[in-house]
């Protein structure tokens, strides 16, 4: 049984003035436990909407969604979310305090939750930085805290909304490597939103290419069977997947541009 099932999902934004906007239509996607799925699409194609719906932040208008066989109902600790920006972090808490947050909400005792938080602090490479507050840390470090905070809560599913989008190229590349090693160690199910083909090919076990909006859905999904060593821009296998994804996305970019002009 798949962990996440989206069946003919549609999303229409109601508007008081003017026409309603249909962002998604007939979107079908199933994700099995342990998969790392990247949703790739042009800007405005509704990929973040998909994540927000799966996270429970927004309601879908049509179709059905089930998580672990149960119909989706609101946000929950089974689906941890890593946001693009750092405005989801709590500046009044230390890095460790941020990582502990979910455990504190669940009523885990102080000693145990600090121990668990430290473990994840170390895992994301911030050993010894736990006392610092988010505003004292760099953009890359803040994203590490977000990742550790979600992992400490031990959700089944990780939802990541362009988490490295605001980072510089070098930091991004380092973070992608680390995410991969964390993922191989924890084998969480990941739904990862990006507009960067390289990022998708580097990370994903499966890439879903979305159509240009409105009324977007999945144009195709591509299985990526590359090993960790093969996930390198100079590798032939990598280049082949890149070309395949690029060909699929190119037309959608053209459509999106044409629609933007019109």
């Amino acid at each position: 049984m798949p962990l996440i099932t989206l069946n003919n999902v549609g999303k229409t934004y109601r508007s008081i003035r003017g026409a309603d906007y249909r962002a998604l239509q007939n979107l079908n996607l199933t994700i099995d436990a342990g998969e790392f799925v990247c949703l790739l699409g042009t800007s405005g194609c509704g990929k973040t909407t998909v994540l927000n719906i799966v996270a429970g932040f927004e309601h879908h208008s049509e179709g059905s969604i089930s998580i672990n066989g149960k119909p989706l109902s609101g946000p929950g600790a089974d689906r941890g979310v890593v946001f693009q920006g750092d405005d989801s972090l709590y500046p009044w808490l230390s890095a460790l305090g941020n990582i502990e947050f979910g455990l504190r909400m669940a009523g885990v005792g102080r000693n145990e939750r600090q121990e668990r938080a430290r473990k994840y602090l170390d895992l994301v490479g911030l050993k010894g930085q736990g006392h610092k507050h988010p505003q004292e840390l760099s953009g890359g470090m803040k994203q590490r805290i977000q990742i550790a905070r979600v992992l400490a809560n031990e959700p089944d599913i990780l939802l990541m909304d362009e988490p490295f989008g605001a980072l510089d190229a070098q930091t991004r590349s380092v973070m992608q490597r680390e995410l991969l090693s964390i993922w191989s160690a924890t084998r969480k199910t990941v739904l990862f939103i990006t507009h960067d083909i390289d990022e998708a090919v580097t990370l994903a076990t499966r890439i879903g290419v979305m159509r240009a909006g409105p009324a977007s859905n999945l144009k195709a999904t591509i299985d990526v069977t590359l090993s960790a060593e093969e996930r390198d821009r100079t590798n032939d296998g990598y280049v082949a997947v890149y070309r395949q994804v690029h060909a699929l996305l190119r037309d959608e970019v053209a459509i999106a541009m044409k629609r933007a002009e019109a």
Binding site: G74, D87, L89, M105, H133, K142
Partner: protein, 255 residues
Amino acid sequence: MKRNETLYRLLGYGCGFGLLFAIWHIAAVYIVGSILFPPPGRVIAKAIGLIEEGILQEQVLVSLRRIMTGFAGGAAIGIPLGLAIGSFRPVRYLLEPFTEFFRFIPATAMITVAVIWFGIGEASKIFLIIYTTVFIVTLNTAAGVGAIAPNKIRAARSMGASTWQVFLYVALPATAPYILTGMRLAMGNSFVTIVAAELIAANAGLGKMIWDARLYMLVDQIFVALLTLGLLGFATDRLFRWAIHTFAGRFQPVS
């Protein structure tokens, strides 16, 4: 680094106050030269005299106690009210007519009513300070709730926080800097209000001291009261800024 900053500040404050007294002295002695505008030396001497007689500190205590009681009451009403207005739209629509209506009726305009209702004693003063505090604190708190980044709440929800936990552990700390700023503004208003109220109708306090001095043309004593007000206000505001800095410096949004 931090120690240097504090040193610079103290040095600056010292020089600033020195300059203030120097200008005051020059204006009083060399420009105006009238008994109606006493120089700082004479005012300070008078102040020392009043302290020795135990009069000044008594009046200060009376005024400060009124301010603190009313201020605490006003904040205690304003904070939960602001949180409710900021959190629940129906509450906002229901209460906005109150806040947006009374906000434009200054506390000084309510002095007469307060005295008629509560007499010239403590009750009317405390009522006025509560009145002048409540609306500013309410509005700032509500604005603070409105300014919380939605992702802060979403993150908490997807870490399993209940609605109540989101309120207690996210909304409240995220709003703290706004609440403190509202309280700081309200403290300034409280000083204005208490003096006005004591001028018009009171049996003690710094405002009453000014009014009594006027009757007997005790210009020095008037200036003692003015100086005291300025210094008290300055000290209270610094205290608040210090509190905001210490307790809420890390409450600032992540830049």
